[in-house]
């Protein structure tokens, strides 16, 4: 059992005890502990259950590569699943619970899965679904839903907040170990602006634990001095608790800063996502130790050798009293020496036939038993390591002898952390003597300048000895600075004592000829429960591509992305395929390197800032007067103004009737307003619109249609001729920015020599539609310009004053009523609105929302972009032929509208629809025809595009597109309802209110 040692611990402060709970049990640790070291310090070896077989699992690693110790942290509004205990810094009051266990961690029903493991082989999910289809919904889905995932999804709104930060630097150095420090120092000395980030809370990485000596002093001292030196350089910024998460095109990188995870404070941002643009990126991300594949290697107490010495040295935590170090390289001896020095018992099993390097000799000299040529046949114990069976590594594991132990330290060699190098396309080469993939500088991720923008340094570049790490990092830092434009000279590289070592021995199976029974208990991927035999099965079943094997077995697909399992899995696959490892290749590394919070990705974009809400100048009035909001693009428009005691439908009805009978007001400010000006503007307008716009007289208005070059109706609105070379185009609310861009695109890419300027002045004006029989009276009451029928006839506009407001007044109507649309400067919009309300009170002035607008336009048979159109509708479908000029040689969409399909007489065309029972047709309903089509679906002959209850007519009204519709007036056709029944509707004229237009033209 693990326990806290009496002395030591680089990171902990014993004078500052910290209390926390694990599965509700109170526990204690120290400031500086991680949750993992604190748990081990309390003897808590069992920390979770595995994903598939619910096997008991313990802490394996000491960093972000940890596969097992995933926790639910916090509760309610601060709940977070899948937090790694190894990267969670301890604080007072931390609440953690283990995941994937039921009913409890110690007694778990799901463990039965392990007994059934031969029924849950690789490809289990795929194979299972070959079974009867009827089982999918009622048998498989509930089971999989219950067993899927490790953590629970949060159920409450996150109490914390998050932010982004954009930074541009010459050189970004990822990783604060000695390589990162050296690279940053070299780059900084050369004069580059440098940002150095480190995922953990401490600088220096492994070197202080591993006993490196740099520039003649222990690594920890060199690290401290170098951090201080960097801190004093004005051109170097350093930041701990900030992880390089991803590298993307053009030197863009994401980093994930954890500000308050170690000391929660809801008033501060919890995480900050750094969006970094760097000239060069140096990845000094170190290396991760590999496990060894022997039977029972997933028992709690089996750990990485490097993690064992991390816990002893950094946290004064002993993972056990009797430690078996099993290694295939010299580095494992560092762990043996460390644990022996801490007063623990230790035996070394070295898979190599000989071990005579300096570290091995040092171990022997210290009295440590070293057994060469040996491996582990199996580790046994009930939920923890109790006995290690030792065997000849080169044989099949027969005749093993037992050692009593409570901890196994696996030293399987090191794999450079190449993730960031690979994110943006950096390729790898296989290094035979270390049995790892390292970045291939000949095939680096290239930037816009065609040169490599990522440089790997130190252990991340495959350099595992201290002296080589420092030299490599120095070169990378200096080169990055020079390539990013720095002109200074880096100082000297740090030097280190030479570390001699003997070659490592690649060990992919332990023992080498392990039986099937042993291999089927040897885990490759702890988190997803993938064993050696699963990968072998995949190979036998024909999954020769590593990417396919990955998906079939789920190897490396868990939240740790296979940090521990990748190389071992590849090697097993290569073995099963009888291929060399580099021929098999690697899977794809994808960002983020380590999971980052959703909150950090969202940044400030939550709550009120989730999306920009565009507000008109009258927004506050609407909000204070019962506006039931409707999003239109990013705008919010009142759907209706709901009065106390009213529901939305009643409000809409009231608004329609009040407008038709007396006076309504509509905030039309959101309508797009584009000014088109220039000597060629008339020509341009004729191309943009289907109508003839160049001949529109100054002072007049014309309704116009715009089509895409494929002929489809794209936008509509009223155009006003302002002067000889200026037109004002009104667009739909959602179309303003799109049509502006559409115009600019044609001007900039096709007609670049036309003299036309376009300006979007949508927001310069507040626009109010004053609508209804009393519209003129209220304007005359306010005084100012002449708005009589004679002075300002229908479809004309004039500039002048309304009351004390300077205004442009357009006699246009979207409701069929006497109507003025009045534009005033936006800064006076609210005042103008208030003035209209005051003056209109004697007429019962009624502001109306978008729904009343829709109903009134539908009563008049006016189309609405987005209702009657959906990107497949041409103006001819809507009976708008009158708005398509036949005189013009060309306009956008003209040729497309002459295609066979566009001129097909069977195209669905716009008609009005009147239900026989007066009911409202369901929105989106289809008119059914006879029989079924080739797909076995009911034949349809039309569909509803707009449907409302008309308060004016007191019955349902609708428009729709119907095959040969205009030729079938009076015919009754059936429309489907969701409940399977049908409603009969008669085909009628779309204009059901004031067809002669007498009301608007008064």
């Amino acid at each position: 059992m693990s326990f806290r040692l009496d002395t030591g611990g680089r990171f902990i402060d014993r004078s500052k005890p910290r209390s926390f709970t694990f599965n509700g049990k109170a526990m204690r640790g120290f400031e500086g502990d991680t949750l993992a070291s604190a748990l081990l310090g309390q003897g808590q070896m069992l920390v979770g259950r595995s994903f598939k077989y619910h096997r008991p699992r313990g802490i394996v690693a000491s960093g972000s590569e940890e596969p097992n110790a995933l926790m639910n942290l916090g509760r309610d509004k601060t709940f977070e699943p899948n937090a790694r205990a190894t990267t969670t810094e301890l604080f007072d009051g931390l609440e953690a619970e283990s995941q994937n266990h039921w009913p409890s961690l110690e007694f778990d029903i799901g463990e039965l899965n392990a007994k059934l493991s031969r029924f849950l082989p690789a490809g289990f999910y795929y194979k299972m679904f070959l079974w009867p289809r009827s089982f999918w919904k009622h048998v498989y889905e509930p089971i999989i839903r219950k067993s899927a995932g490790l953590g629970r999804a949060p159920r409450h709104r996150d109490a914390d907040h998050y932010e982004h930060f954009n930074a541009t630097v010459d050189v970004l150095v990822v990783g604060g170990g000695i390589a990162g420090l050296q690279a940053a120092k070299a780059a900084g000395e050369a004069g580059a602006e440098v940002l150095l980030i480190e995922q953990g809370a401490h600088w220096g990485g492994r070197a202080p634990v591993d006993g490196a000596v740099i520039d003649g002093v222990p690594a920890a001292e060199w690290v401290e001095a170098t951090v201080a030196a960097l801190g004093a350089m004005p051109n170097v910024a350093i930041r701990a608790r900030t992880m390089g998460a991803g590298v993307y095109d053009h030197g863009y990188a994401l980093a994930y800063e954890r500000l308050t995870d170690h000391a929660p404070d809801p008033s501060l941002p919890r995480h900050r996502l750094w969006r970094i643009r760097a000239g060069r990126i140096v990845t000094a991300t170190g290396a991760i130790e590999r496990p060894l594949s022997f039977a029972g290697n997933d028992l709690p107490g089996v750990m990485l050798a490097s993690a064992v010495r991390d816990y002893v040295t950094n946290y004064a935590v002993a993972p056990g009293k009797c430690v078996v170090v099993v290694t295939n390289n010299d580095d494992g001896y560092r762990t043996a020496l460390t644990v022996q020095e801490a007063g623990l018992e230790v035996v070394v099993l070295d898979a190599r036939s000989e071990a005579n390097g300096p570290l091995a000799e040092q171990a022997r000299a210290a009295g440590i038993t070293v057994r060469v040529g040996r491996g582990i046949e199996s580790v046994k114990g009930k939920g923890k390591v109790e006995k290690v069976w030792v065997c000849d590594q080169t044989r099949d594991g027969s005749n093993p002898d037992p050692i009593k132990a409570d901890c196994v330290a696996m030293a399987g060699g090191w794999s450079p952390v190449v993730h960031l190098w690979s994110h943006c396309g950096g390729k790898l080469s296989w290094q035979e003597d270390g049995a790892f993939f390292r970045p291939d500088p000949e095939r680096a991720p290239n930037g816009a300048d065609g040169a490599a923008f990522v440089l790997a340094a130190g252990a991340a570049n495959g350099e595992l000895e201290t002296a080589a790490v420092l030299t490599d990092a120095y070169v990378a830092g200096a080169r990055a600075a020079a390539e990013a434009g720095a002109t200074g000279t880096a100082g000297a590289a740090a030097t280190a004592d030479v570390e001699l070592s003997e070659p490592m021995l690649p060990v992919w199976n332990m023992p080498e000829r392990a039986s099937y029974a042993l291999r089927s208990k040897a885990w490759l991927d702890y988190q997803n429960d993938v064993k050696v035999t699963d990968v072998e099965l995949a190979a036998r079943e024909g999954f020769e591509s590593v990417e396919h094997t990955k998906r079939y077995t789920t190897l490396g697909m868990a939240t740790d992305q296979g940090k521990l399992s990748n190389i071992n899995g590849l090697a097993v696959l290569a073995g099963a395929l009888d291929q060399e490892i580099p021929k098999v290749g690697t899977t794809t590394f994808r960002p983020p390197y380590h999971p980052i919070s959703m909150g950090a990705i969202a940044g400030e974009a939550r709550g009120a800032l989730f999306q920009p809400v565009r507000q008109t100048p009258m927004y506050d009035w609407h909000d204070a007067n019962g506006a039931h909001w409707e999003p239109v693009g990013h705008w919010r428009r009142p759907y209706a103004y709901v009065k106390p005691g009213e529901d939305v439908h009643a409000a809409v009805k009231r608004e329609v009737l009040a407008t038709r009978n007396s006076l309504g007001l509509l905030d039309a400010s959101t309508l797009g307003k584009l000014v088109v000006k220039g000597p060629d503007a008339g020509k341009f307008m004729d191309m943009m619109y289907t109508n003839m716009m160049s001949t529109l007289p100054v002072g007049k208005c014309r309704y116009g249609l715009m089509c895409s070059e494929n002929g489809f109706l794209s936008d509509d609105g009223v155009v006003a001729r302002m002067d000889d070379d200026t037109w004002l185009c009104h667009t739909t609310t959602g179309g303003a920015d799109r049509i502006h861009a559409h115009m600019e695109e044609w001007l900039q890419t096709e007609w670049w020599d036309w003299k036309v300027y376009v300006a979007n002045v949508t927001e310069q004006y507040a626009q109010v539609a004053v609508v209804g029989p009393n519209a003129r009276k209220v304007l005359e009451k306010l005084g100012g310009m002449d708005v009589s029928k004679e002075a300002l006839p229908f479809m004309q506009w004039a500039e002048g004053a309304i009351g004390q407001f300077s205004a442009r007044v357009f006699r246009i109507s979207f409701s069929g009523e006497l109507s003025y649309e009045i534009a005033v400067p936006a800064s006076q919009g609210r005042a103008f609105w208030d003035a209209l309300l005051e003056a209109g009170s004697e007429f019962g002035v009624t502001p109306y929302g978008t729904e009343a607008l829709h109903i009134m336009r539908a009563e008049k048979g006016f189309i609405m972009i987005g209702d009657e159109t959906d990107g497949t509708v041409i103006p001819q479908d809507l009976g708008l032929n009158w708005a398509i000029s036949k005189k013009k040689e060309d306009f956008l969409g003209k040729r497309a509208q002459e295609r066979d399909h566009m001129t097909d007489p069977l195209r669905w065309k716009l008609v009005g629809l009147e239900t026989l029972d007066g009911s409202v047709l369901p929105d989106g309903s289809y008119a059914v025809g006879e029989g079924v089509n080739d797909n076995g679906q009911r034949v349809v002959q039309g569909r509803v595009t707009s449907t409302y209850f008309s308060p004016t007519l007191e019955r349902g009204i609708a428009m729709g597109l119907v095959e040969l519709g205009p030729d079938r007036m009076g015919e009754v056709i059936a429309f489907n309802r969701v409940d399977g029944t049908f409603v009969q509707a008669k085909i009628v004229d779309p204009v059901v209110f004031d067809p002669e237009g007498e009301k608007q033209n008064v």
Partner: protein
């Protein structure tokens, strides 16, 4: 002329920087051939400003001209003067291909002020523009975005920046800046 109000009615807030709406500012979009001396002369005759350099500002006695694009300038003047400037510029530029429109009320203008690099830090949370002082110096106009909306930014001095955005998103931009300057969230990077 009735009571005119700006987008967020002069709202202000204090965090590790101060954020304040600048109120109504006169702004006129001028488009034309910036390389044509007749254009330059006509603009000068109204604004008494020379043409600004690329991304720069040219200041006259009361007006400023901001470079917006190779064929676009923004005239900044007193709000009540803007309409008169439009008339005068239109007259002065008649005969040349040009466009002059009043956009004063289509905009919201914010001033962010604070000491040290605080202003740049608060803004770097929501704009991807490179805000390093040697890259974006005082007096340079940068068209970029603030989180999800377009904006133009300019440092008036190391301790103050001006942000121009569309009026309809004034509340959004104000809230963004307030959020970004929440005390305790200083970054300490610049």
């Amino acid at each position: 002329m009735s009571e005119a109000v700006s987008a967020v009615q002069g709202a202000s807030a204090s965090g590790f920087v101060d954020v304040a709406e600048a109120g109504l500012v006169g702004m006129v979009t001028i488009r034309g051939d910036l390389g044509d001396s007749d254009f330059a002369h006509a603009v000068w005759s109204v604004t008494h400003c020379g043409l600004p350099k690329k991304r720069g500002i040219a200041a006259g006695e009361s007006d400023q001209l901001l470079w917006m694009s190779p064929d676009e300038l923004l005239l900044v003047c007193a709000h009540e003067e803007a309409e008169a400037r439009v008339q005068a510029l239109s007259a002065a530029l008649s005969g040349q291909h040009h466009l002059v429109v009043n956009v004063s009320d289509a905009r919201a203008v914010f001033r962010v002020s604070g000491s040290g690099s605080a202003v740049r830090e608060a803004m770097a949370k929501v704009t991807p523009a490179d805000l390093r002082p040697r890259i974006l110096g005082v007096g340079e106009v940068r068209r970029t975005r603030m989180a999800q909306v377009p904006a133009a930014i300019c440092f008036d001095g190391e301790d103050q920046a001006t942000i121009v955005c569309f009026r309809s998103v004034g509340t959004y931009v104000f809230d963004l800046l307030v959020r970004s300057s929440k005390p305790g969230s200083e970054v300490g990077h610049f």
